[in-house]
Symmetry: C2
Subunit: 189 residues, 2 copies
């Protein structure tokens, strides 16, 4: 067999890219986020994994709220900056225009085509990172990013990324329909 064991330090190919929003000392703060996913259908829950050393880890524990904001391709430089620089060293509160929804201390980024505000539901602690489970309180978008009131990926123009080689990619063409294309396989059997 041609398979190579490439070790244990592997990552989803690719990961979605978001800005994880909190309040730090009363002001908006954001970090770049790739380790997150929806985890429950009803109620809608998201999980975000945050290194124990990050200021955002402290902020979520303090405020019990966080936001997930999806940047567009033209926000890569600001987003990446939020992944490089710690709130412990630099005030990141002026990088983005923000707005607020139903929660206090949960800043949402106006320029992002999709922003989700979450209240803390639970915490799962791991050796180097903690997994914060948030219940979705509301999500926000703009008419121009929606088709039939649903976020439209091609209008959103998001970015995905890879580790450990650290590349950003845009999304390409549509290649299929989920919960549908599989019927072709069934017919062939």
């Amino acid at each position: 067999m041609s398979k190579l064991n490439i070790g244990k330090n592997v990552f989803s190919q690719p990961m979605p890219l978001a800005l994880l929003g909190t309040h730090n000392e009363g002001k908006p703060n954001f970090m770049a986020l790739g380790w997150f996913t929806r985890v429950n259908n009803n109620p809608p829950l998201f999980a975000v994994a945050v290194n124990k050393a990050h200021q955002t880890n402290v902020s979520i524990r303090t405020n019990k709220t966080f936001t997930i904001n999806f940047p567009t391709e033209d926000m890569i430089i600001e987003t990446d900056y939020c992944g490089i620089v710690s709130a412990k060293r630099m005030d990141k509160s002026k990088i983005f225009d923000v707005f607020y929804g139903e929660l206090e201390n949960a800043p949402l980024i106006t320029k992002c085509p999709l922003s989700i505000e979450c209240k803390l539901h639970d915490i799962m602690e791991f050796p180097t990172n903690d997994l914060f489970i948030g219940e979705v309180v509301a999500a926000y978008s703009d008419e121009k990013y929606l088709t039939d009131n649903i976020p439209d990926l091609k209008k959103i123009n998001p970015v995905v990324f890879t580790m450990p080689n650290n590349n950003y990619f845009k999304i390409g063409e549509k290649v299929g329909d989920a919960w549908s294309d599989g019927r072709k396989f069934e017919v062939d059997q």
Copy 2:
């Protein structure tokens, strides 16, 4: 403000796509998976969210192992089929050629450019889904998908997908460098 509250049932834009592998009654079984992420740096841990109604939920609890396999664009039909049809109704053990790594009952898909075998570390239970935390035991690829011994997204040609409109997309061009492009912002300040 032009922002619209679009409700609570929102999803990552986009989600990565994988096949979640287990043994069911001693045979390989796979379901399509979009709700998963890396959650810990050291040791490498992944979290996969599985509906309580799925047979895979039972299988992971029974075997205490699972695999995460990333399909290529030309595997969409088989992958989608695994998301439509339950192991309770159909034997899915013959769809893919499989191989085994270090764990028992953890089938890896030969055709997938990246496959990860995990041993169960913990379970977090939610109302409709359970989150299975797996520690990476090993990951497998082929020389043709690697550059400098690291998975290369453009060689892998994976698929991402969206909910609730259920579209599959391929990856487009590289548009930046993570943990690097942000330096341009810092210089401008």
